[in-house]
């Protein structure tokens, strides 16, 4: 048997042939997301997001998504009751950045307690950019919240998408927007 393994010079050359690779860093693995992968909005609600985006163009608009949570053993369903426009508190660069000031957020959180309507997520627009989350969106996002992005091209609202940040903060999982 030794003859077969070592005497076969071809095998050694073959292994060398297959060893010509480029090396780099490793890849990462995403974890699985939540079971909520769909958000239901009414026609009026999507229209409201669109028109807010168009009004604020060329600046990014932002708003909060309020509603109810219905949980059972396996799942959590979110029911959107209200979309409230918020002020984009960015001091500058509002064409490409939005900020909900801590004061606004503090007020929203305390209203949550008073009204029972929960903060389910936020929406914002991307003026002249696709409705895809950016690196900045990912860095500043929280898991669990639904983030709706509407693309506003030259003042006209275009595609709308919804996302949730993965638990390990690596990527966004896309959600279906159901109009109903």
């Amino acid at each position: 048997m030794i003859d077969w393994l070592t005497g076969h010079g071809k095998l050694a050359r073959f292994s060398n042939y297959f060893a010509r690779f480029w090396f780099g860093s490793g890849a990462s693995d995403p974890s699985t997301g939540y079971s909520v992968r769909m958000i239901c909005l009414t026609e009026n609600q999507t229209a409201a997001i669109r028109s807010h985006g168009e009004r604020e163009f060329p600046y990014e608009c932002c708003g909060v998504i309020l509603g109810d949570l219905v949980s059972d053993l396996h799942d959590e369903t979110r029911i959107v009751r209200e979309l409230r426009p918020l002020e984009n508190s960015q001091a500058e660069d509002r064409e490409r950045r939005y900020l909900v000031s801590p004061e606004q957020m503090f007020a929203l959180m305390h209203q949550e307690r008073d009204t029972g309507l929960k903060i389910l997520g936020f929406y914002h627009s991307h003026p002249d950019h696709p409705a895809l989350p950016s690196v900045v969106d990912r860095e500043l996002a929280f898991p669990w919240y639904v983030y709706i992005i509407v693309s506003v091209i030259s003042g006209r609202a275009a595609k709308m998408t919804a996302w949730q940040l993965d638990e390990d903060r690596e990527s966004f999982l896309s959600e279906q927007i159901e109009i109903g």
Binding site: M1, D3, W4, G7, H8, G9, K10, F14, Y17, F21, W22, F23, G24, A27, S28, D29, P30, T32, G33, S35, E60, E95, R96, R97, Y98, L99, V100, P102, E103, M105, F106, M109, H110, E112, R113, K118, F122, H124, H126, P127, D128, H129, P130, L132, S134, V135, V136, D137, R138, L140, F142, P143, W144, Y145, Y147, D168, R169, S171, F172, S174
Partner: protein
């Protein structure tokens, strides 16, 4: 002591509560206690250095602690601390955009019967699949090149998963030696075409799958026509010309190519997709010299190995269809079955690649046999003169006549152990050149191997060393077993 109000986004990390009561005389102490009691919150609240993320604001009562003493702000009994997440973001370079292989209109138009919904129920309850994903699978068209070792598990799992259309390119017939690994075929299929056998296996697993069969050789003449109707190509071939052809046609038509290969105990897999990463030529710009890489028949293969690699290929194809997970684009997965190790190497696109680089020189399909330096379909026997050949019948006659013959067996020792011809001496092919001194140039030397190919190679090597009286046994020990002595096992 403080009552800490938790925002909805973080409640699941705080035991589902929207309010917690924690001890602490300062905000810092309360935060420390929070982190200690609910460690799941840490990755959301703190950065790598353990500092509070800059977009987490802490309010004491109605005041932002940044306007007070920050984390050192003192607390009295039952002060209220609100964790206020900063909400911000913006437009910019999109994150790695979602991989969409299946046209969304086509997948939206796909319908699933109640029967199919029951069949795929274990898929439908996965968030990464659910109804939307199962429809993508149904709308998907996957072309499998080869229904052999890699193709078998691949095709079976794609069918089970509900891929709507599976194309198969294979014109081969099921051989008895295939059954050790090509599990889509059974004992009763020996002698039938692999296409017939594969169709029946698929129909048995999942009758909802439409099979499009191409019982023809995959060549430059038909490759583009076949591939253009499919979304994904999975390469399950066993020879280099077809691998380069598959790569080139996928690059030119913009299709992802799920690659898998095996050699003895090792396997490889990756996804070549020129738009998003490297192609096969980026990795292997030139084919190996013909004859260097043995086929399964010559080198042997652990039967279960293509099973594992083929399943990995099916996994990648399904992920591409669903648009979930991290496909092996730009990553070469290496698997060693004996060591039970997986390794991964990052692959870079080669900007000088002749087909997918910045200045491509290859813009159409070429002659791949010529590219790989092969004259025929498989490594054809080196040209040997008929005067240099001897049939097994002639050989048997001479042995029976009592001639003293020098018969050299150029196979490997383990083959010699399985079966041998009478009165032969073993010198493996790889040693023929160095051990030619053991042979007498004045004696006639008869060479044989298993089928006649390797012994033809040995004959040419000895001719180059000045031997003139040489004969190659046509058909090798296989022919001896078939025509002369059936007791000699074939393998």
């Amino acid at each position: 002591m403080a009552v800490v109000l938790i925002p909805t986004a973080l409640q699941k990390y705080a035991g589902g509560k929207d309010e917690l009561v924690l001890a602490g005389a300062t905000v810092q102490q309360v935060v420390d206690n929070l982190a200690a009691e609910y460690s799941a919150l840490n990755s959301q609240l703190f950065n790598d250095k353990g500092e509070l993320r800059h977009f987490i604001n802490l309010y004491k009562g109605q005041e932002d602690t940044r306007n007070l003493q920050g984390l050192d702000t003192a607390l009295t009994d039952l002060d209220e601390i609100t964790i206020v997440p900063g909400i911000a973001g913006g437009a910019g370079v999109p994150l790695a955009p979602p991989v969409t292989v299946i046209d969304p209109e086509r997948s939206a138009a796909a319908t699933l019967s109640n029967d199919e919904i029951l069949r795929y129920s274990r898929h439908l309850i996965l968030p990464e699949v659910n109804l939307e994903g199962q429809k993508k699978l149904k709308a998907a068209k996957v072309l499998c090149i080869g229904a052999g070792g890699l193709g078998s598990p691949l095709i079976m799992y794609l069918a089970a998963a509900g891929v709507g259309t599976i194309g198969i390119v294979d014109f081969d017939t099921v051989d008895y030696t295939n059954l050790q690994r090509q599990i889509i075929h059974g004992t009763g299929d020996v002698g039938r075409t692999k296409m017939q056998s594969a169709r029946e296996s698929i129909a048995s697993i999942n009758p909802n799958v439409e099979v499009i069969g191409y019982e023809e050789e995959f060549t430059s003449a038909n490759a583009a026509r076949i591939v253009q109707d499919f979304d994904i190509v999975v390469d399950g071939t066993d020879n280099f010309p077809t691998r380069y052809l598959t790569n080139d046609v996928c690059v030119l038509l913009g299709k992802p190519n799920v690659y898998g290969s095996i050699f003895r105990f090792e396997g490889q897999s990756t996804v070549f997709w020129a738009e998003k990463g490297p192609c096969y030529r980026c990795l292997y710009p030139e084919p190996p010299p013909p004859g260097l890489v043995p086929s399964c028949a010559e080198g042997g293969v652990l039967g279960v190995l293509p099973g594992i690699v083929g399943c990995i290929q099916a996994n990648e194809a399904i992920k591409l269809i669903l648009g979930v997970g991290n496909p092996l684009i730009g990553r070469l997965l290496l698997f060693n079955a004996l060591k039970m190790q997986f390794r991964e190497l990052r692959l870079q696109k080669d900007p000088t690649c002749p087909i997918c680089g910045e200045n491509p020189t290859i813009t159409e399909l070429i002659d791949y046999q010529q590219f790989c330096g092969i004259r025929g379909e498989e490594a054809a026997p080196q040209a040997v003169d008929t005067s240099e050949e001897i049939t097994v019948v002639q050989l048997k006659a001479r042995i029976d006549a009592g001639e003293k013959l020098t018969i050299i067996d150029v196979r490997e020792p383990y083959e010699f152990a399985i079966a041998r011809m009478p009165g032969t001496k073993l010198i493996p092919l790889g040693q023929i050149a160095e051990r030619s001194g053991e042979l007498d140039k004045n004696t006639e030397i008869i060479l044989h191997c298993r089928s006649g190919k390797r012994s033809a190679d040995a004959l040419n090597q000895l001719k180059a060393k000045g031997f003139t009286r040489l004969k190659n046994v046509v058909g090798g020990i296989t022919a001896w077993s078939e025509e002369i002595d059936p007791d000699v096992p074939k393998y």
